[in-house]
Symmetry: C2
Subunit: 239 residues, 2 copies
């Protein structure tokens, strides 16, 4: 009996970083947590960006929203305050925004190794908890993966072959569109319940409870056919 | 996306033998059959029988239902006719009824090897398609498993240790009771739908369709929290 949780996410997305921690807080307190399986899925906030694209975060936000850089920086500090309140490190300066396609390809590779969570946490930490560009720096990306315990030659091989896991990334994104996800984080439980955004842990806890209880309802039983029980088998009609 | 099907069954149960074939017919025609996972679970029709117990089937039925042996034999022929109509061999004489506990233990062992289906088919064939006792003949049981491709020494080791997989069998039986199964075959789809008895293939097909469609409904989405999308991230309130 397993609740399958799919989490669409982007490394560029601060609320994905926060939402993951809130979901994990809910999972930690969920009595049936051993029966929950989590898979992370790809969602690029901007799939049109070319490989290696890197914008400094604050100017990027200022331009995107048509606000001043001072306002953009203040917004970043607002997110940082939320992160810190949850015990997450968050740097508001020196970071970049860019193409996450290679990271999503690596995450699919890590999934096959059973180490997707490890890599995702490392990527989030590298992007949000350090004041250095990540999206425009492939060497740094390699080091982040290697420091997280991945084999350097294998990481480089995945990165060097731009077709590797590319279809898997695109498939995740198509799936997100079909499910109606227009932003991330987007959590889907058993393909039945969706939770959009970095909701409070209580919301995730309720969704987990709901999905779990759906697994153990009164069965709707179709009966009436030949069967055997402790008192014997139903006898076929005799002539 | 997987539909999990659990099938409680007993080797003693002719309708389990028939029901398995009907379920497989439905599965064969199910467009998403690669997304269906089947596990067979233990259910002893008579868990009180001692190890090695063996009754000839026809006298056993006659006594159980308080009918003549001629009537019991006619009933067996009736089941045989149903089986033959499905292309299954069925012997009405020479077979026995007995303790299936060891077989269920072996089926749990085979499940771990990824070969439960192979063993179950072999046990059904040995019981129903041949006119020789099976439940009272451990050597025959060993040969059935070996002929199905299992390692003889390993089979004997499982049989020799009466505690091996015994808890797993008991757990299956307790689970069946919790789910309200009073006879077998008992099919459970996603712990949501139950199908009792050797229903026509169409009933299984409908149950598979229903369970599958439950996996891909309109999501019930809880929204309204901070998220990032193509147009940027929700901005935290500014003061």
């Amino acid at each position: 009996m397993t609740v399958e949780v799919e989490i669409w996410t982007d490394i560029n997305c601060p609320f994905c970083y926060l939402g993951k921690a809130r979901f994990e807080e809910a999972l930690e307190g969920f009595p049936h947590r051993d029966g929950v399986r989590v898979v992370h899925k790809s969602f690029e906030l901007d799939p049109t960006l070319p490989h290696g694209h890197s914008d400094a975060v604050v100017p990027h936000i200022a331009e995107k929203y048509g606000i001043s850089e001072a306002q953009a920086a203040a917004n970043e500090r607002g997110i940082g305050a939320q992160a810190e309140a949850m015990g997450l490190e968050y740097r508001t300066e020196g970071r970049d925004f860019g193409s996450s396609f290679d990271m999503h390809r690596l995450l699919h590779w890590a999934l096959e190794l059973g180490k997707q969570e490890t890599l995702l946490d490392a990527l989030y930490a590298a992007n949000f908890a350090e004041d250095a560009p990540l999206f425009g720096d492939t060497e740094r990306l390699v080091q982040v993966a290697v420091n997280a315990g991945f084999d350097e030659a294998s990481v480089r091989a995945v990165l060097a072959d731009s077709t590797a896991y590319a279809d898997a990334v695109r498939a995740d994104e198509a799936e997100a569109a079909r499910l109606g996800a227009r932003g991330v984080p987007f959590f889907v439980l058993d393909r039945k319940y969706g939770v959009s955004g970095a909701q409070p842990a209580e919301v995730f806890a309720q969704a987990l409870e709901q999905a779990w209880s759906d697994h153990a309802p009164e069965l709707e039983v179709i009966g009436g056919a030949d069967a055997c029980g402790p008192d014997g088998c139903a006898l076929p009609a005799r002539d």
